[in-house]
Assembly symmetry: C2
Homo-oligomer: 399 residues x 2
């Protein structure tokens, strides 16, 4: 067992979130307290920066800057989405040894968990003492063995606020632009899209998620039914909607838009639905596509989410110095009302690669909306109430 | 001159803004104080609701609700974009007389000013004593005789925040998604798009506005130049970009997407630019299109803007009860540093129809960005600082 101090290395990977820096903050503030930890080193742009020894001293930063990470969205260390080649794993281990790294923490989603596992495995193979811990992060909420993932609460909060305001906008204009389509994020799962249902009475009337194969005829019928009933329609549709054969309804075909893990860039789903509505129903329709705002909006940070992101970061430090390795911190809900959540532990391999979809009990039977069970699950994650807007009472004037 | 009390009628028209309800709040709270004013009546969905006598009692609303209007985006009374037919002007005057309306206030943009002028003209022709006052509102900032328009400051604040976070997102991912295109609102003028330049060091590298005819070759050259220099590019492009012949670069062609004033629905500009970049430069490019969030986001309300919107509403009441008619309140900047602003007065006819474009001194010579003069003009309008995010210092770790 390691007696002397070792250094800690931390990186961020995959897509940004509003609270991934909160996890980094938790790691740095916790590591500073620990005698076992010498230098605290950040990789710039994840393992891609590590390969180039593009590193940064995190122990000697201004403490106010470290504290400010908790309210700063996106990735202070920068990201990568890089698949290591066989030879590069060796290079990385050499750099790790060169900097006397004994604790390796990687904040990311399932692909990052895989990378972390592989680095740990190689270190073990070579007899280099290294404790590798994964720190969960993804707005997609799709990591196995987690009740939810850090980053999701804030993305959900953003989408709840966005849905509220987009719906209020549509109601204002119900004599002018009668249909609004909002294209939301999500490659394989509907979690982020479903969060629009947290807007209460301003929730979209129709919500489409990739768990349900898309059927254009049913979609048009749904839109017409809502329109005939109340004269306007708000639709939230996930960019990752799939045809019954499993292909994306809208994806860029060009090769340069496929990432190293084989995921194609999505785009154009919203415009496709707008065209479908205009051509078939003749209704004036507008597209909103908030895009990367969903993952990177600082004004929509959920305090619950930021606190939990901090907690998983701090926990990872404590695991690593307790000689635990090849694990990821997880989030475990211990009570729903009042809401409480603790950290748990899972094997990196069990969280890597596979993703978690929305379970059937969260999807309405008519497959165009979300159930109350989902609302109960997701509502605590977005923190304080999303607005205190008012509405005029419909009092008739005196003649 | 009118001795007895008359009733006041108020409506909202055109596109929503984050502070049009603040103007309504100013009108109601001021009108309640005035002995000259009896009932305070709201048209639901503007003149379109008025034609149906779809009216609402504003005097008997809960005062907390009235106060809450100041922080509630979009249109509490609902909107319309309706061009009155000849006969309908007569109908409207009959309804106005039926409800003993003597003060007619209409909150809107240039089309609404035209409608207000016409109603005032007809009343005069028929010898019906009516004081009509326009209350300016438009995120487009394109009303003549105004230093700026209520609604613009909040839309500008939204776009400054959005540009900041989208740029931070892009920097995080500079090894992955190297170009981001943000499609922003604006039919004929670049004011809303230009506001992205208020994001300081996180401003877009390239900004395209309708005042400058679009040239695809120059655009691609601009993008390549920025990319070659720093490896990533953020582009803000106005939905209303025009070809050298004056046609829109991207507009829906279908008839149902043209409003009664002949304005076509815009859409697809951002995707067009993304395709242009991917096909010609082979760079991984993503589109964000915040759409109606720009005009309807409550979280981005600028306090300066909300206060000024309130002020123009309250002023309109005072003008009307002073027997002034056929005028619109305007905003007049009296000092830039420290910023101060007062109300002014203009003829409705002079503000109707025509719009105000960005002057040449606000546009950089290379026509792909905004000048410091614009920043100085617009910065006071967005209120308090847009964020307190931090950045890590680039300290090299000890070996």
């Amino acid at each position: 067992m390691l007696k002397a101090k070792g250094n800690l290395l931390v990186g961020q990977s995959g897509g940004p979130s509003a609270v991934i820096n909160s996890s980094l903050c938790g790691i740095i503030e916790e590591a500073i307290k620990k005698e076992e930890i010498g230098e605290i080193i950040g990789m710039k742009n994840g393992i891609q920066g590590l390969l180039k020894e593009d590193l940064i001293d995190l122990r000697r930063q201004n403490p106010d800057v470290i504290k400010g990470l908790k309210r700063t969205p996106t990735m202070a260390l920068g990201s990568c989405r890089y698949k290591l080649k066989e030879q590069e794993y060796d290079d990385i281990l050499k750099i790790i040894a060169k900097y006397n790294i004994r604790y390796f923490l990687y904040i990311g989603g399932n692909d990052s968990m895989h990378t972390t596992h592989e680095i740990g495995r190689l270190a073990k193979e070579k007899g280099y003492e290294l404790y590798v811990i994964g720190v969960p992060k993804t707005i997609d909420n799709d990591l196995l063995h987690n009740d939810h993932t850090p980053g999701y609460g804030s993305a959900a909060r953003y989408n709840a606020i966005m849905a509220t305001e987009i719906c209020m906008d549509t109601i204002s204009l119900k004599y002018i632009e009668v249909v609004k389509v909002v294209e939301t994020m999500g490659r394989n799962s509907g979690w982020v899209t479903a969060a629009t249902a947290l807007a209460g009475k301003y929730s979209p009337h129709l919500i489409y998620i990739p768990e349900i194969p898309f059927n254009a005829e049913k979609f048009l019928n749904d839109v017409k039914t809502v329109y005939d009933y109340q004269g306007y329609v708000v639709i939230a549709a996930c960019e990752g909607l799939k045809n019954p054969n499993g292909s994306f309804v809208a994806a860029f075909q060009s090769k340069m838009n496929i990432d190293p893990f084989g995921n194609p860039e999505l785009g154009g789903l919203g415009q496709y639905l707008v065209d479908l509505i205009v051509q078939n129903l003749g209704l004036k329709t507008r597209l909103d596509k908030p895009g990367t705002m969903q993952r990177s909006s600082g004004s929509a940070i959920s305090k619950v989410d930021a606190d939990e992101a901090y907690m998983v970061g701090a926990k990872a430090v404590n695991l690593a110095i307790s000689y635990i390795t090849d694990k990821t911190v997880t989030l475990v809900r211990t009570s729903n009302s009042p809401y409480s959540c603790e950290t748990g532990l899972a094997n990196l391999e069990d969280v890597a690669i596979e993703t978690r979809k929305m379970p059937p009990e969260f999807i309405k039977k008519d497959q165009n909306n979300i159930t109350k069970a989902f609302i109960e699950y997701a509502a605590p994650l977005i923190g304080c109430p999303i607005h205190d807007y008012v509405e005029l009472a419909d009092i008739k004037p005196k003649l």
